[in-house]
Symmetry: D2
Subunit: 280 residues, 4 copies
């Protein structure tokens, strides 16, 4: 339903990816070549871990219900800070109203979460899913999206200890509730999760036909391929980005994350693991 | 937390009460002499039954997150229509975010509902209350306020058949859940309900110290009292208004609705009944 | 830059054209087949003459900076009133910021005005044009668009006495200032003007390649063509609409307004006149 | 009409002054003890020079039309950055509409400007003042406030070379135009200006009864006065703030800036100069 982008690496001015690339996130908000919807104009969100992590590594959020392409504040903000790990998300609403509390990314303590996709038949499942959320977390749900419910369900089921297992259990519960309600394909989407150090990017749907997901090629490799590309000078050697669709048409710059896979990005680089594969 | 106004009578241009009176609702939004909070600037709502009721008597809504005193659209709209029954509400938020889905009045089919007050300890009670809402109504909850939960709880418990009994049962359930959670005074507030014909205005709180509520004196009586008051010419003989605080300082123009009382306004005039009195 | 629609005829629920047609104005806001820009998501406006014209026939306005497809208030409002003459406009901003004061239609006394297009090189011409506006009108300019400046210039030059002559003089002045500034094609656009009784729809640009403009076929003719079309039952015999692009694919339902032409719609039907033709 | 605050000194988290002080700017927006208006809820602005001045020392802006006390984004932003020089402004509108382009501070290149007050009779003077603005600056006026016109007039008259002389000439022109128009007291207000290094704070009005203005006492002095004040630990020795009214009731913490005075704050501390005194 949406488009998102997550960056990790040397502290970077977020506008480099949110605004200034060929197919930047804001460009995608107005015209998304690979998206299900052409326009993602139903609000957006930006979440970033400050360079100075003295604040318990708590990320900051900027949510707006204006289309991203119009928002002067987004432009000012992302050009004036630097961050070693940030999330951007543009929304094409699929039902829940356009309001700041429905904008991704969602935050819990030092965790960020965002989602491109949907829980099919969410209204039929919502009551059961909400009931499965830990009572102490229940009051923290501020919006009305399926994505936020999935996030708090995953936290309830252990995301903070083990993101892959926690989110896996949450999706399994969604699929089980969905089955009881007669929903054929309850889960659809790509999801980004971070604790401020590691970035997990999931691609999974019950139907095994998930929306697209890509990550960038390692910068040193790209520099060898394109020694003259001035554009690459703004990135450090550890710069990595995961994104709904490539930010540039440069051949070799982006690699697809496969179906039913989680890509894990940290200081050691990328590695991919199967995710909920057995569920097929 | 808020201020509200409900009108019933001959079709009237709503701006007469919303904007153009001495202590109009918009004037109260900026400076409320009797309110707990001075400023009610956290969004507002306006709901009206059209003169032409061919649409199943379904009311229309206008919700905004801007302060009412700034909103040009409110000014234009309420000066350009006429309505025989309308609700206006200015909000001073007590927690739930400022978003259109949290603005009163709330609507279900041909019913309107608005509330000035709060459920104390709502976050602790919310899960139990939400669970008590009929499963078919659950997906209709669009916002995150205590007031909307109370509305759907009352519908679940029969508000559409008997508003006094239905709301009474809902408040009784709130008080019972509150007691279990150790909350001393769970319910606080004045509430307006209408089906498009009759207007019910409730004043009740567990502590029996409810926010203020007034209704206007019958217009023919007022005309006798103030034969020269040009202002009274804009109102028909059946014009009646219930409001958080008097719209004018004119002595005799407004009567207080007593504690634990429901005022019922219809073509036969006003009558008052005790409400949940035995709960005292 | 934008899309617009103007209706005159029997009082009609505006949602019939703004929301509920195949290519309704809101549908065009998200996907405009004939538009220069695909998306018109930078705010919108709706202006209507109330059925009851006792208010000096002054039209009412509703302006919003949200994309039209998201706006619940637009949906509620246009489904709850009826109007014999209304304007709707969705904007794709070409520079001036997205703010209510830049939303069309613009109003002066009983006149409405809206524009799809632009004054090329406006920033270079603005000072001279603004200076040519009558001193008494100057303080009434609330926004920063080229269109509003053109409106007040046309009023200065006689639009209220003779809309065709007044707008013609204003455009001639734009072209003369533009020539001095070395701008090849200063004027571009289609414009709707009304006094609440007659509707003037202009199609003109200096380059003689103006954005598209259509008006509907007379309803009685359409009923003969399509005796079974249930859709036509909602319209009265005098219903007429002018619009940037056809609201339906029904063959014969819409006629193009030619280049350098003004279409005049009133109780006597349509008639077309050349507009600024000699300027070619 | 408004309240403002300007900080210069060691890089500081702006929320310390915008949100977290006894009479913080956001607290003043809801309840301003010394203000002409109680409520300053008509939008706000925040402008800051980033710690990293590699961007030509260009300040960043965040403008919003929501009341400051509601704005989650303001809270997030000012808690997540640090800045050696920032401006905050809450607005009580006096006419020009509530829109981002009317929010202070205004920016031109590396300069910031904000104003609490008004040009009396602005609509009568506007045309003459706008005409006096340099043609190359004219297109940069994005909003419709008197304050922005005053800013560009001051730039036209040399503010960037000599802020005291440039603003002095602009105010002299306002007073001269005002005199021609029969306006008794054309200029009213306190103004903050900065180039990113020095901060100029002006207090002046034609009537010599200007709204209040204060600056903080030097931090080392305050530490001597209040050796136990934990609150003072967050500030560096060079921290200085100018503000419409004291941020705390701590005796000795704030000093009034006198009528017809400019306070100049830089690395050498404060110094005061008479401003337009002879005009009295």
């Amino acid at each position: 339903m949406c488009r998102w982008l997550a960056y990790t690496g040397e502290a970077l001015k977020p506008s480099e990816l949110i605004l200034d690339t060929q197919h930047s996130l804001v460009a995608q908000s107005l015209n998304s070549p690979l998206g299900t919807e052409t326009v993602n104009g139903d609000g957006f969100g930006f979440g970033w871990y400050p360079e100075d992590s003295s604040n318990g590594n708590r990320p900051a959020l900027f949510h707006s219900i204006e289309p991203a392409w119009n928002d002067e504040n987004l432009r000012e903000l992302t050009s004036s800070i630097a961050s070693p790990l940030f999330f951007g998300h543009v929304r094409a609403a699929a039902g829940p109203p356009i309001q700041q509390s429905n904008c991704h990314p969602f935050r819990h303590e030092n965790w960020l979460f965002m989602h491109n996709g949907f829980l099919d038949g969410f209204l039929a499942m919502k009551r059961d899913l909400v009931l499965a959320i830990d009572e102490s977390l229940f009051p923290l749900i501020h919006g009305t999206t399926d994505s936020e419910v999935l996030f708090y369900l995953a936290i309830t089921l252990g995301l903070q200890d083990d993101p892959v297992a926690g989110l896996g259990r949450a999706i399994a519960m969604v699929e089980s509730v969905g089955e009881r309600k007669g929903i054929q394909f309850p889960m659809q989407g790509t999801i980004a999760v971070s604790d401020g150090h590691t970035l997990w990017a999931f691609r999974y749907s019950t139907s095994h036909r998930t929306r697209s997901l890509y990550h960038s090629t390692a910068i040193p490799e790209l520099r060898e391929l394109y020694p003259d590309a001035a554009r690459l000078q703004v990135f450090g050697d550890n710069a990595k980005v995961v994104v709904s669709e490539p930010l540039t048409d440069l051949p070799g710059a982006f690699t697809e994350v496969q179906e039913s896979t989680v890509a894990i990005l940290d200081d050691n680089g990328y590695h991919h693991e199967p995710f909920l594969e057995q569920a097929a």
